[in-house]
Structure formats: structure tokens, C-alpha cells
């Protein structure tokens, strides 16, 4: 497979070279492009479009070019792109929820099953409890709220690491989903769902537009509201954030709630879109959603989890997998591709973005989500 090979193997490829670039940033700080000086517009533009800064966009362009040449008939068909926009919207929404919790330094491993639980609840409410669509969706979102409350309780009050707490919740949710669906697929055959399944705006499925709206809202909050700063500060250093007056417990609570409710929203959308509630629908979303969030965090140079990097990551990866499907690659190839692309993209963004991500991962390993009491030494 010639796909990402040649273009991703920039000189920074090896880990040794990577740490060298990283450490040499220190003494060179005087001439740092981040400095106060006003570099020429061209220089700044060059910075912005540097491979390290937006590797996923380059990945996307390369993949696009490869498949456009390889199988232009299928790949360039508008239908292919409509399908992709539609199919990936749900993954993207889950991923955007994860952007919030990850920014605050929290792992929400229950996101996949939260989606599943909400999906099953909506289907159950419509089919078994004969509810209308609005109360059913509300019930699905309420599932998300409950899960968020449980996660928050475990992480904030009991001081369990978010990684472990949400793993535990996931297992409980598996039980819930199996129970409520009686371990069977619930098929929804109700007129309004039939309409929604195929409804589109401007030729693109409505789910895509929901994703865009969710994205804009989260982007705005992260960038333009103080709470966005509070999220990043809590994720960056919980002790320093707390002492700077950030109420880190509240931030943690909000982040866990947001990520659960957004995953539940994705689950409800999925129920409307595919007209089923299924006990196995949730978990397959977890890894792609995390993949996109991490890949997205290496974009735009800051090493922070961010909305548009994540959206681009999802669609860059989807372009690859769609293309591979079209050229008749084996069925296991897309997963292989996702994994390799993530490892390469994160590894090669050898700028501060990559190193910040690595630093953050080390911190995740060390502590729980909530800095309940600062240690006194």
C-alpha cells in the first residue's frame, strides 16, 4: 500500500530525531516564532501550513489524490461523499464530546456504551413503551445525564481515576443495554422515523448539520468562553488551575456531563437515522472517536484537543477507509489503516503539539481525574 508511506516519512520520523527537535526548542526560544516580533505574513503563513501543524489536512489531500486517480469513477461520485458525510457524523459527535472531557484531563471510556444505552433507550421507548419521538429522545438524553452523574460521582466524590471509573460504568451499561433490548435488535418502524432516516438538507443528511452545529457550539465555548480556558487549565495542571481560582471540581463535573450527554445525543440520532436500537451498536464507536480526538489534538500546533482538528481527522481517516473499500481492499484493512494513521500522525507531529500530547498522556497515567486534595510535601 503506497498510501501514507512516502509523504509521512519526513526527517523527523525517528523518535531520536523527535526528542532532539523537542529539546532544542529550549535554547532557541529567543528566536522563537511565537515571540513578540511580527514575522512577515509569508513566514507566518508558512508556519501555519507546515506539515507538523496540519498533518491531517495533508493526509486528507494525499488520500484524496491517490483515490481520485486510482478509482475516479466511484471515488469522485457525489454519492460517495454524501454517504461519508452522513456516516461519519455520529462518530464525530461522540468525538467532540470526548474533546471536552479530554481537554479537562479526563478519559471517558463509557462514551461508546453511553451512545449504545441512549440508542437502546430511545428504541425501547418508541417500540415497547409506545412513546412519541420527543419524549423518547428526551429519555435517551436523560440516560446520558444519569451516566454523567454517576461518572462525576465516582471521579469527584470517590476520587477514582476517570479511566477506571468510566471503565466500570461501561460494564454496568453493557448490562443495562443487554437487559433493555433483551439482547435483541429492536427495529423501529414508525412513520416519523422513516422520514428522518432519509431526511436531508442541501443534499446532505441532517445528521451532518447537527454535527456542524454541535461543533460550532463547542468550538465557541472552548475558544471564547472563560470556561473553555478553565477546561484546558484543569487538564494542563489541576493544582495550578485550582490555585488560580478555577473550580476544578465543577469543571470536571461539567466535562463529564457534557461528554455523556453528547454521546447520548449521538445515540439518539443514530436511532432516528438507522431505525434500530441494538445492544451492540455502541462499543465500535469508542476507538474511532478517541482516535479522531487524539489525531485532532496534534493539529493546529497547540497540542490541545480541539474541534476542527477532530472533525478533519474523522473525515481524513474516513476518506482513507472509503477509498480502500472502493478499490476492494480486504475487510480488515480500514481498521489497520486507522491505527497506523493515528500512530504516524501523532508521532510525526514532532512539534510542541506532539510533545505536549505525550506529556499529557504521562499525566493521565499518573493521576485520577480530580485533584481532590493537593498533596503536601
Amino acid at each position: 500500500m503506497t498510501t501514507p508511506g512516502p509523504d509521512l516519512s519526513t526527517p523527523e520520523g525517528s523518535s531520536a530525531a523527535m526528542s532532539a527537535t523537542q529539546t532544542s526548542a529550549g535554547p532557541g526560544a529567543a528566536s522563537d516564532p511565537d515571540g513578540p516580533g511580527h514575522p512577515g505574513t509569508l513566514a507566518r503563513l508558512a508556519q501555519h501550513v507546515h506539515f507538523r501543524n496540519i498533518s491531517a489536512i495533508y493526509l486528507w489531500i494525499i488520500l484524496f489524490a491517490i483515490f481520485a486517480i486510482w478509482t475516479p469513477g466511484d471515488f469522485l461520485a457525489i454519492g460517495t461523499w454524501r454517504t461519508m458525510a452522513d456516516q461519519e457524523a455520529v462518530t464525530t459527535i461522540v468525538s467532540l464530546g470526548l474533546v471536552i472531557s479530554l481537554s479537562a484531563g479526563l478519559f471517558d471510556l463509557s462514551a461508546g456504551l453511553t451512545l449504545g444505552a441512549s440508542n437502546a433507550t430511545v428504541a425501547w421507548a418508541v417500540v415497547n413503551a409506545h412513546m412519541g419521538i420527543v419524549p423518547a429522545v428526551a429519555l435517551g438524553l436523560a440516560t446520558g445525564i444519569c451516566i454523567g452523574l454517576v461518572n462525576s460521582f465516582l471521579v469527584i466524590e470517590l476520587g477514582i481515576s476517570s479511566f477506571i471509573a468510566t471503565l466500570a460504568t461501561s460494564s454496568v451499561l453493557t448490562a443495562y443495554v443487554t437487559w433493555i433490548t433483551a439482547n435483541q435488535q429492536i427495529e423501529i418502524s414508525i412513520p416519523i422515523f422513516n422520514t428522518l432516516a432519509t431526511y436531508s438538507i442541501g443534499g446532505i443528511s441532517w445528521t451532518f448539520w447537527v454535527m456542524i452545529v454541535v461543533g460550532i457550539v463547542i468550538w465557541y465555548v472552548l475558544r471564547y468562553r472563560p470556561v473553555g480556558r478553565h477546561l484546558y487549565a484543569t487538564g494542563g495542571s489541576p493544582d495550578a488551575a485550582r490555585l488560580a481560582g478555577v473550580r476544578t471540581s465543577r469543571v470536571t463535573f461539567g466535562a463529564l456531563m457534557a461528554s455523556s450527554v453528547i454521546a447520548a445525543l449521538a445515540g439518539a440520532i443514530l436511532a432516528m437515522r438507522v431505525e434500530i436500537g441494538s445492544p451492540t451498536i455502541g462499543p465500535p464507536y469508542l476507538i474511532p472517536a478517541f482516535t479522531a480526538a487524539f489525531l485532532g489534538s496534534t493539529q493546529f500546533g497547540r497540542g490541545r484537543f480541539n474541534v476542527w482538528g477532530t472533525v478533519i481527522a474523522v473525515y481524513a481517516l474516513a476518506t482513507g477507509t472509503t477509498g480502500l473499500n472502493l478499490v476492494g481492499g480486504p475487510f480488515w484493512l480500514p481498521d489497520l489503516f486507522d491505527g497506523v494513521a493515528l500512530a504516524l500522525a501523532v508521532g510525526l507531529s514532532a512539534s510542541s503539539a506532539g510533545s505536549q500530547l505525550r506529556a499529557r498522556m504521562r499525566r493521565f497515567g499518573r493521576r485520577g481525574g480530580e485533584p481532590a486534595q493537593p498533596s503536601t510535601d
Binding site: 495550578a240 481560582g245 499529557r360
Partner: protein, 516 residues
């Protein structure tokens, strides 16, 4: 104070001759020469940016020196501008020690050098342990070599780091570079580390000792080299030098006459803490600070001095007591409430508590008070940038850029950011915990000048520090803590560095030894 041991200085173990270094057209070092004899403790001092760390990095083989100079260890030229690594020729101990806390001394030492293996390739633990014990015994410490180093005392850990550096040396000549080895040591432990360093020197090691603490230099070193602007500003014997002499060489000018403690009248009491008790040592104290007043908090480590500011600021939750700022009670243990009521805190550990290290200068400065930058459309990023820029100038950040992540800044600049962050909230009370710790002389003076200025504008300041000189210089009153209690309060003419030190170390009647 024990005098520096008059060493019989042998042939130079380490001879640096006319070493220069240019970064992107800028001279970081120009023609620096320095010689460390066998058995000599040679101090290297200078402000941040003086070229000190560049020189250390050249010695470590991290930077290549410009062609032209030479570095010799025991008379053998090291190819500083070529490819040959200096590793194995000079031993380094950095301030963070870089030990693996969960492993014992044996493993920590062997990991760098490689384990001694027998013919079958298995590790010979007995030989490892005995060579490790021998190295540590040389320093006069009998350390359990299998005990995880994280459980050792700070000085013992430093010994292990030194032993590791020695074990990595391949030649016979012992040249050690100790880079700020006392930065994280309590005062009492510093004295014990000095004994170790003197023992090493007496056994023939040549030691280059780098420190911001000029007292240590005067106490320990026999010779000193002062770097300023990449050049040797002074080199010579320590005997006969005073603290002020050194400061003058470092700054290139006389230490600015610090305006004698301002005798401005004090305003109303702003901060009142009554019967506060808390912290790891169950420290108890009561404290009233008036507007414009700078009150010092002194005490050795473990005395409770280190609890006062965290308890006031809510970083630690007091078990009991009441704190009011301008008459309004604070919620105990709630930093956001303290900040909201006008109490800003500069924590002792700036890396962990003071700054979000991966964030930019701007984001750190504005984090505690984003409210003023928010309109109905959200944060005004351009206003934020301008505001952060103003504060960067006000605290003399150099360079004054606000978009660099703070982890790229020097220690002094980082501390200025912490201070800017606190001052920007417009505090009525400043709780400062070791504000000049691990900061060079110039930055420390600038930081304290800002503190004095805010006091002059009516801020009530609590200044907790180990540094009795600092307290004596700036405080009108000093509380001395011993064993978790306020043992005494010094006022007026009693506020001298000698009196503070004496009171800190005075044995309590019926006490079982002062420090832990």
C-alpha cells in the same frame, strides 16, 4: 560559619580555555576560560542569561563549542568542537537529580553505567551492591542501597546522584559538575551536603559548583568565576570576597540601594487570620496585616512556615480558624473565594502550583481573572493579548513575548509570570511563598521591587521565606515559627538577618531537636 577548606590545589582537573559559543549570530559565550584543580571547589555564578547554562551544556556535550577553544580533563584535550562525546569524562548532577524513585541506589547507579555481569550474562548483584556501598561510604553516608531512593532523605538522594555521576566516569580524573544541588534541599540538609562535597574534594575530585545562593558560594568554594553577558566578569579566590562584592560582579553595578524599609504609615488591618490551624504539621497561627505592611514568616523547614501561605490562600484547608480580608470572611480551603475577596497567592512550587506549564504566558497571566475580558460575545482575544502584554512589560519579562509556553521560560521569567498573574487580580492581600526561590539575583530584585510597590499602594503582604536576608531586607515585622507555632515576633531593629536566623534555630525548651 565554617571556612572553606584551604585546598592544596593540584594540577587542573578541568581546564577550559577560551571557549565561545554563538547561537544564530548571537554570542552566548565569548572566550571563557576557567580552571578547576584537583581537590578544588570552584563556584560558577551569574544571572540567568549570563552564559552559565550554555557553558554547562557545552561541558555536558549537549552543545558544541565554537571552534578555537579547548577543554581539557586531566591534561587530555577533549574535542569540544568535534564529534567526540564528553560523556564519561565529566560527572554531572543536576538539580532535579533524575533518579528513579522506585528503584534502590544500586539500580539507579547501574542503569546509567550498565550492570556488572558475570560470564553468563546475569547481573552480579553482590558486586553491584558492594561497589555502590563503597562509593556512598566515600561520601560519609551509610545508605541502604536497596531501599527505593524515593524513601531516602534529600541529601541521601543527592549522594546517590553523585555516586552515579562518579560511577559513569571512565577516566581516573574526577571532575564533577554540581548544578544547583541545593535548590530543593532544606537548610539543615544543605549543611550535610556541604560536608559531602568537601569530602569529595578532599579525596581529590575537582568540583565545579553552580548556585544562585551566594552564601553557599562564600561558604563552600575556594575559588569563584563570575559570568556576565557571556564573559568572565571576575575570577579569583573566594577568601576576602563579600556577598555584596559578588552581587556587584554579577550585576556589573552596585546592588541598587533598596529603599530603606518604607516608613509609610500603615493603613487599616486588611488581612486577619485568627487561630488558624492546619497543614501537615498542624501549624497554628494568628496574624494581622495592615495595608502597606510587609510581614515576614520565618522558620526552618518543618517549622510550619511552609503551611502559612497555603492555609491563607485555601490551597490547604485549615482544620479550624477564621480568615478575613477587608472585614469579609473567607471560605476556608477555597482558593477561588480567597481570590475573589482579593487575596492573591504566589505558591512556592511554581511548576506544580503556580503555572500551567504547557500554556502560554498570556493564558497564565489572565487565567485567574478572565471576567474583565468577557463581553456578551465572549472573550475578547485582542484585548487579552494587549492586557497580557502590558503585564509582561510591567514585570520586566525578557523577552516580553506573551505567546510562548511558559515551560520555555527561564526560572526568573516564570516567577515573574506567577507574580504578574497574582498582581493582575488587583489584590488587597499578597501571600508570597518563597517568591525568589531559584531565581537569579537580578530577577529577584525586580520581583521584590514589584512587591514593595504594591505594598506602597496599599497591599497587605505576607512574605514566607527561608531566606532570612530577604526577610530582613523587606519586612517591617517577622513572625518566627518553630515546631508548628509562632514562637516569636520580631519588630523594628530586631528585624535583622542574624536575629531571624538565630530565632529560627533556637532550641525550644524541652524540645527533642529542632528539625526533623
Amino acid at each position: 560559619m565554617p571556612q572553606a577548606i584551604p585546598n592544596t590545589v593540584g594540577p587542573p582537573s578541568l581546564a577550559i580555555d577560551m571557549v565561545s559559543k554563538t547561537f544564530a549570530g548571537q554570542r552566548a559565550l565569548s572566550g571563557v576560560s576557567l580552571a578547576v584543580g584537583s581537590g578544588e571547589i570552584h563556584a560558577l555564578v551569574g544571572q540567568n542569561g549570563s552564559g552559565k547554562s550554555t557553558l554547562v551544556k557545552i561541558l555536558a556535550g549537549y552543545h558544541l563549542a565554537d571552534p578555537g577553544g579547548s577543554i581539557k580533563v586531566a591534561g587530555t584535550e577533549l574535542d569540544a568542537s568535534g564529534s567526540r562525546r564528553l560523556r564519561g569524562q565529566i560527572g554531572f548532577v543536576h538539580q532535579d537529580l533524575a533518579l528513579i524513585p522506585t528503584l534502590g541506589a544500586v539500580d539507579n547507579i547501574a542503569i546509567g553505567r550498565g550492570y556488572v555481569q558475570d560470564r553468563l550474562g546475569s547481573i552480579s548483584w553482590r558486586r553491584e551492591a558492594s561497589s555502590c556501598r563503597r562509593l556512598l561510604a566515600e561520601m560519609g553516608h551509610d545508605i541502604d542501597v536497596d531501599r527505593p531512593v524515593g524513601l531516602l532523605s534529600p541529601v541521601e538522594r543527592t549522594c546517590v546522584a553523585i555516586a552515579r555521576a562518579l560511577a559513569e566516569l571512565s577516566g581516573d580524573a574526577r571532575v564533577l559538575v554540581l548544578d544547583e544541588p541545593t535548590a530543593s534541599l532544606p537548610k539543615a540538609e544543605v549543611v550535610r551536603l556541604f560536608a559531602v562535597v568537601r569530602t569529595l574534594a578532599a579525596n581529590g575530585a575537582g568540583i565545579l559548583y553552580i548556585s544562585h545562593h551566594l552564601d553557599e558560594v562564600l561558604d563552600l568554594a575556594s575559588r569563584v568565576t563570575v559570568l556576565r553577558d557571556g564573559q568572565v566578569a571576575h575570577a579569583g579566590d573566594v577568601a576576602g570576597l563579600t556577598h555584596d562584592d559578588l552581587v556587584r560582579y554579577i550585576l556589573g553595578r552596585s546592588p541598587a540601594e533598596i529603599a530603606a524599609k518604607q516608613q509609610t504609615e500603615l493603613g487599616q488591618p486588611v488581612l486577619k487570620a485568627s487561630h488558624v490551624r492546619g497543614g501537615a504539621r498542624a501549624t497554628r497561627f494568628s496574624l494581622t496585616v495592615r495595608a502597606g505592611e510587609i510581614v515576614g514568616v520565618a522558620g526552618i523547614d518543618g517549622s510550619g512556615r511552609e503551611d502559612v501561605c497555603p492555609l491563607l490562600a485555601g490551597a490547604e484547608t485549615p482544620d479550624e480558624g477564621a480568615i478575613t480580608v477587608a472585614g469579609r470572611a473567607l471560605r476556608l480551603g477555597a482558593p477561588h473565594d480567597a481570590l475573589g475577596r482579593g487575596l492573591a497567592y504566589v505558591p512556592a512550587n511554581r511548576h506544580r502550583d503556580g503555572l500551567v506549564m504547557s500554556h502560554t504566558v498570556r493564558e497564565n497571566i489572565t487565567l485567574p481573572a478572565l471576567g474583565s475580558l468577557v463581553t456578551w460575545t465572549g472573550l475578547r482575544l485582542s484585548a487579552e493579548r494587549a492586557d497580557a502584554g502590558r503585564w509582561a512589560n510591567r514585570v520586566h519579562l525578557s523577552p516580553p513575548g506573551t505567546e510562548a509556553p511558559v515551560d520555555r521560560l527561564s526560572g526568573g521569567n516564570q516567577q515573574k509570570v506567577v507574580l504578574a498573574k497574582a498582581l493582575r487580580t488587583g489584590p488587597k492581600v499578597l501571600a508570597l511563598d518563597e517568591p525568589t526561590q531559584a531565581v537569579d539575583v537580578g530577577a529577584a530584585a525586580e520581583i521584590m521591587q514589584l512587591v514593595v510597590d504594591s505594598a506602597a499602594h496599599g497591599c497587605a503582604v505576607v512574605l514566607a521565606s527561608l531566606d532570612s536576608e530577604l526577610l530582613a531586607t523587606y519586612c517591617q515585622r517577622v513572625l518566627v515559627l518553630r515546631r508548628g507555632r509562632v514562637a516569636t515576633e520580631l519588630r523594628g531593629d530586631d528585624v535583622t538577618s542574624e536575629r531571624i536566623a538565630e530565632e529560627c534555630l533556637r532550641a525550644e525548651p524541652a524540645s527533642r531537636g529542632a528539625a526533623r
